[in-house]
Amino acid sequence: MTTERDYGQLLTLTFSTPMPYEWSIGKYGSLFFHEIRAHQRFIGIRCPQCGKVYVPPRRLCAPCFMELDELVILANLGTIMAFSVVNYPFPDPATGEQRPIPYTYGYIKIEGSDNIFSHIINETNVERIAVGMKVAAVFRDREEMQGNIQDIKYFEIME
């Protein structure tokens, strides 16, 4: 409860209490993480109407408003559709700590899917990364896996 910045006589109040949550991942999302742990590979889900494959698998194809249940095994390979080397510092909401920069946020089309999967690419040199490059997922060691998105460590560019 101190003044962080000097506004003369004007006081401010600091509040930094984290809010705890326990979010449900849901049926298909849980399967996705189980599959990574068991077989180090991705699964997606296909819409019976439009044929689109979504990864991570979800319950619904929005344009068709159709419930999905046809799981599809996918490779842990993909193509960079877009990327951004992030250079500005800000606190990570999960920890309150500042995230190390730079890091590369990537839009990756997993082979055999029709939407885009977001994750980190372990290359921060703009000269060595380009749209269209092939990438492969690198997973955590199995005993370290926790059933969350960080069970995928990052995607690495394939030479």
Binding site: R5, Y7, L10, T12, F15, Y21, W23, I25, G29, P56, R58, A62, M81, A82, F83, S84, V85, V86, N87, Y88, F90, P91, D92, P93, A94, R99, Y103, Y105, G106, Y107, N115, I116, F117, S118, H119, I120, V126, V131, N148, I149, Q150
Partner: protein, 385 residues
Amino acid sequence: MARRVAIVGTGQTDHRSHRPDVNGREMIYEAVKRALDDCELSIHDIDAVVIGNMDHFESINYVDTWSVEGSGAVMKPIMKVTTGGTTGTSVAIAAYYHVASGLFDRVLAIGWEKNSESDTTAAIITCSDPIWDRFSYSGAIPSLATEASAYMKQYGATQEDAARVAVRDRTHALNNPHAHLRRPITVEDVMASPMLAYPIKLLDVCPRTDGAAAVVFAADGVAQKIAPKPAWIRACAVRHTYTWFGDVDYNAGLVSLQGASREAYQQAGIRNPAEDIDVAELYLPYSYAGLKWIEELGFCGPGEGPGFIQDGHTDMGGKIPVNPSGGVISTNCIGATALLRVAEAAGQVMGKASQRQVPDVEVALATGFGGCFWSDMVILGTVRP
């Protein structure tokens, strides 16, 4: 039968990066007071209030009930409407339906944000899905960078093309006494500013602002008695197309804006947007949007955005001036930002935009942008629909 609705008054704060001299409620009051003064009403004339912002930016739950002393809603109906960046247009559209429904004659719409009270990026990151996206997502800028890169690749647009949009908006802001950033910049300044996430540089993006906006909506029959020249609502359309960032197809353009404009143009009878619309206040959070999104709006053809900007068609005195207020690149108090677009467009239609007035405005367009590449649109006009 829906009633016709018009905007009769607008108010906004003098936007700044920090307003340590007021708390949120006091800042809201400033905008409300100015809106009421603008149309010479008192708070007693207001039948209902709609308010919106983004909860986590100030960490206030139930902003509607927390704010009543500032909004003037003590012993009045108040409702909170919030949809992220589009909050301001969502609030405006909600106020429109409050009146159109026949339940209320005079309704106050309020949008506000004190961005200085939290780390905006840390807060915006929590809009991404906690299970899937929050680990890698790093706020609005990288997804916009993704869109910008795709556009540059598709049409050969350059960083200088985008810089011209930032320069235009910042130049227009010199005419707006309420704007946050009121220092002129050049294309060279933009190019030399620090790279945030390729190809977006510091001067390509909006600032973080403390500010509030308020707009008074009134019913047909009431509006004409309040304002000599009310700004009639000709159309409202909303497309919040996506739920997942991974579903956005950047090569298809801003699909939500294409959809919203199709619907709104049809409602308002607009066939040739660049001819039929006299001025546009667009929610352009970064410069590249100013190239690409005017194509989605049909101001020019696909890939023609950079030329349209360079030829000065969107400058003051041009074919269709864009953002006479200085736009979002000059002022961005998020929950207020889209409502400011509506307020500024209304000011143009009412002929009350002072130094930033575009002559003889009959039809004005306002847009909102936010969420997961969502778009809202409001069209205002001098002619009662």
